[in-house]
């Protein structure tokens, strides 16, 4: 099991990087959202890996918290996306830039 340790971490780092690139380059908010979820779960994977490796519970507890936070975040985020869609605008992050004005 401990031999797998670097492998899990590398997988976690890879998932995180994929997610990060997704957040940076995609324009569809839904996809950006999925990328964020990917990053969160990459972090979860790292947390659990360390938890197993050090034989402590803290990492697992953190992972549970992350799942809970991610769930609530999805609720808020999806509500926003639906709201924008309902207002009859295109779901394109580059066009949703009123905050700068």
């Amino acid at each position: 099991m401990s031999g797998m340790f670097p492998g899990f971490l590398i997988l976690s780092a890879a998932l995180f990087s994929i997610g990060a690139v997704g957040v940076l380059v995609r324009r569809n908010p839904l996809v950006v959202f999925m990328s964020i979820e990917l990053m969160l779960n990459a972090a979860n994977l790292a947390l659990i890996t360390y938890a197993r490796y050090t034989h402590t519970m803290a990492g697992q507890v953190f992972a549970l918290f992350v799942i809970a936070v991610a769930a609530s975040e999805v609720v808020v985020g999806l509500a926003l996306i639906t709201g924008v869609y309902r207002s009859g605008r295109r779901l394109d992050l580059d066009e949703l830039s009123e905050m700068s004005e």
Binding site: V23, L24, V25, V32, L93, D94, L96, S97, E98, S100
Partner: protein, 667 residues
């Protein structure tokens, strides 16, 4: 006296009016008038009964063991009890402790007794007012505040009571807030009180900071008994507040007296009292005659150990008192507003009390306070009946002939006038003559102060009997006076009770066993206030008494000659001494002087600042800051593109930088 019993009783005395205030205030007019009319006076009379029980319990004790200190609650206590190897350490505390001693009980009896009678009277006086419950809420609050003031054994709570009293007085003077003059009078009274408060606060701070114990250590205490024990005679060598007559103790005495002067309407902080007559008449009787304005006398009497160490400050007190007494007496002779005449007479009588406590005749001053509370409340309430019958007209020129239509009110008012003038057998005779003859024996510049004081007698009986004659005798001079009717029983009975008191309380000062200097009344107060330092010899005292009575009767005689028989023309003074008449009629121009000295310059300065300073300096500074922020913001807002990706990129970039830095640090 069982401390627990006293604690319970004192809690009742303080708690009942507080509860009355809370109920009347928080019910916000939802309680029927009938209930309020029971609660308002009921709580005060209940407090009076509890005070009587304390009084009786006190009388059962030997005379030198009648003071007791009880702690209502502990507050801000920093002392450390010895426990677990830590040694005990005395610290600061501001406990709400009460001092129940003869002086406090006397004040409590006056406040709750006279106050209770006035509360009953008020039920009739404000019966038609829509703010019935507000009136009783304020009145109960006033009683509570005044009780806190006189019962407190701590500088902190003394000051709290002192300031609460000022607020209650403000609220009651401005009770009819639709009237602009009432609101202005309330404001004037409150501002004057606050000026006085500053003096009291500074005096209290100086005591707190400088008082030293017998070994010369700083005590830092607010406990009044500790303070008095350490400033008293004998302790001045090591501790106290410095040597007798030293600068510190003199400063403290004068600062405390500034507070007392504002509360007691003494020159130069006296101008608020006549204006305070804008309030309802029971308020004038309760606050501006019987209780609040005498708080200054109480303060000086309570702090007498300090004044005994500060002869100069005590001299200032005496001179201000006698000067105010004379000045107010002169003003009272020419006023036409029935309540203002009585207000100036209050100022004058309190001047005499202040004089007495200034020269060290403490129990004489307190006795005058006690009798004055009875007969002045009587005069105000009787005047209230008149004003009620006259449909709120207070000008004695439009009255006349009221003695036929308001027989009982006339009789009571006359009793009050006799008591005030100091005609023998009535209360004022005993108190005023004792006060003046004590002053004669004790005063620093004895004869002159006594001459001024005794000449106030003739002024007093002149102005009060002038009111009696002009308002009650002769022919009615207006329709209201023609149709005046006697007051209802709820307003007449309290007046009659006070008239009875004003007739008999003076006898408390007679020692039936002989003409010893210590009498029933002063022997009651003696454990707190000490014996008078000196009394005049029988011959001098007797002569002084004779002169005083002759002058008082002379004042009545002058009124009779001027207004009764017309032997002396009314125009004599206005024509022969017009300046004197104008000076008196215009109240010595103090309002005008203050307007010229303070109001006008401050107003002019304010207008100048508005015109010259505000546009450039204030507005310039505010506008400049605004412009600077806007410019800076314009620079920063270019960072805010609105593109989520930009933000995310920046975020990831710095997260990466953070990681790299962290990694470098770890390796």
């Amino acid at each position: 006296m069982n401390p627990t019993l006293i604690l319970v009783l004192a809690t009742i005395v303080l708690g009942l009016p507080t509860a009355g205030f809370l109920v009347n205030a928080l019910s916000a007019g939802r309680l029927p008038k009938k209930v309020v009319a029971w609660i308002g006076p009921g709580v005060v009379l209940g407090a009076f009964v509890a005070t009587l029980v304390i009084f009786v319990a006190m009388l059962e004790r030997p005379a030198n063991d009648r003071g007791i200190t009880v702690v209502l609650w502990h507050w801000l206590n920093t002392s450390v009890a010895s426990a677990g190897g830590v040694s005990a350490q005395a610290g600061f505390n501001a406990n709400f402790s009460l001092r129940i001693d003869p002086l406090a009980v006397l004040m409590m009896l006056v406040i709750t007794g006279i106050g209770g009678i006035i509360h009953v009277y008020s039920v009739g006086y404000v019966a038609d007012d829509p703010s019935f419950n507000r009136f009783f809420a304020y009145m109960n609050l006033f009683i509570t505040s005044m009780l806190v003031l006189v019962m407190s054994n701590s500088l902190v709570f003394l000051i709290i009571g002192w300031s609460m009293v000022a607020f209650a007085s403000y609220a009651l003077i401005a009770f009819w807030y639709e009237r602009k003059s009432a609101v202005q009078a309330g404001r004037k009274a409150f501002i004057t009180q606050v000026i006085g408060d500053v003096g009291l606060y500074l005096g209290a701070f100086l005591i707190f900071l400088n008082l030293r114990g017998p070994n010369g250590q700083l005590l830092h205490t607010v406990d009044l008994q500790t303070i008095f024990a350490n400033v008293g005679p004998g302790s001045h060598f090591h501790g106290g507040l410095g040597p007798v007559g030293g600068g510190l103790v003199t400063t403290i005495g004068i600062l405390l007296f500034i507070g007392a002067a504002a509360k007691s309407a003494q020159w130069p902080l006296h101008t608020w009292l006549p204006d305070a007559m804008e309030g309802p008449t029971p308020v004038s009787a309760l606050i501006h005659a019987a209780t609040m304005v005498t708080a200054g006398v109480y303060l000086v009497a309570r702090f007498h150990p300090i004044y005994q160490q500060a002869p100069v400050a005590a001299g200032v007190v005496a001179c201000v008192g006698i000067g105010t007494a004379f000045m107010a007496g002169v003003i009272g002779c020419t006023q036409y507003d029935i309540k203002r005449v009585i207000a100036y007479s209050t100022m004058s009588q309190i001047g005499l009390m202040i004089f007495a406590v200034g020269v060290g005749a403490y129990s004489a001053g307190m006795f005058q306070l006690f009798t004055h509370a009875c007969f002045k409340a009587l005069l105000f309430l009787a005047a209230g009946n008149v004003i009620h019958a006259m449909h709120d007209d207070q000008d004695i020129r439009v009255m006349g002939g009221l003695s036929r239509r308001m027989k009982w009110t006339f009789v009571c008012f006359t009793v009050g006038a006799l008591a005030l003038s100091g005609i023998p057998i009535f209360a004022g005779f005993f108190s005023k003559e004792e006060l003046l003859s004590n002053g004669l024996a004790l005063g620093p510049a004895v004869p002159w102060l006594w001459v001024i004081g005794v000449s106030v007698n003739v002024l007093t009986s002149f102005y009060i009997f002038r009111v009696v004659w002009v308002a009650f005798r002769g022919e009615p001079r207006s329709d209201h006076a023609q149709q005046a009717h006697e007051a209802p029983p709820v307003m007449l009975i309290p007046v009659a009770v006070l008239a009875g008191l004003a007739t008999v309380v003076g006898f408390l000062n007679i020692d039936f066993a002989g003409f010893a200097p210590i009498t029933v009344f002063s022997s009651f107060l003696q454990p707190v206030l000490g014996v008078p330092r000196a009394t005049p010899s029988d011959l001098v005292g007797g002569l002084a008494l004779l002169v005083g009575v002759i002058l008082s009767v002379g004042g009545v005689g002058i009124v009779w000659a001027v207004y009764g028989r017309g032997v002396i023309s009314r125009e004599l003074i206005p024509q022969r001494l017009p300046w004197l008449y104008q000076l008196s009629f215009n109240k010595f121009y103090w309002d005008e002087i203050y307007a010229l000295a303070f109001y006008r310059p401050v107003g002019a300065a304010a207008r100048f600042v508005r015109r010259a300073v505000e546009p450039d300096v204030i507005d310039g500074a505010v506008g400049g800051i605004r412009d600077a922020v806007a410019t800076l913001a314009d620079d920063f807002r270019t960072f805010q593109t609105g593109f989520l990706k930009d933000y995310a990129l920046v975020f990831f970039f710095f997260a990466l930088v953070g990681l790299v830095v962290l990694g470098l640090k770890l390796t």
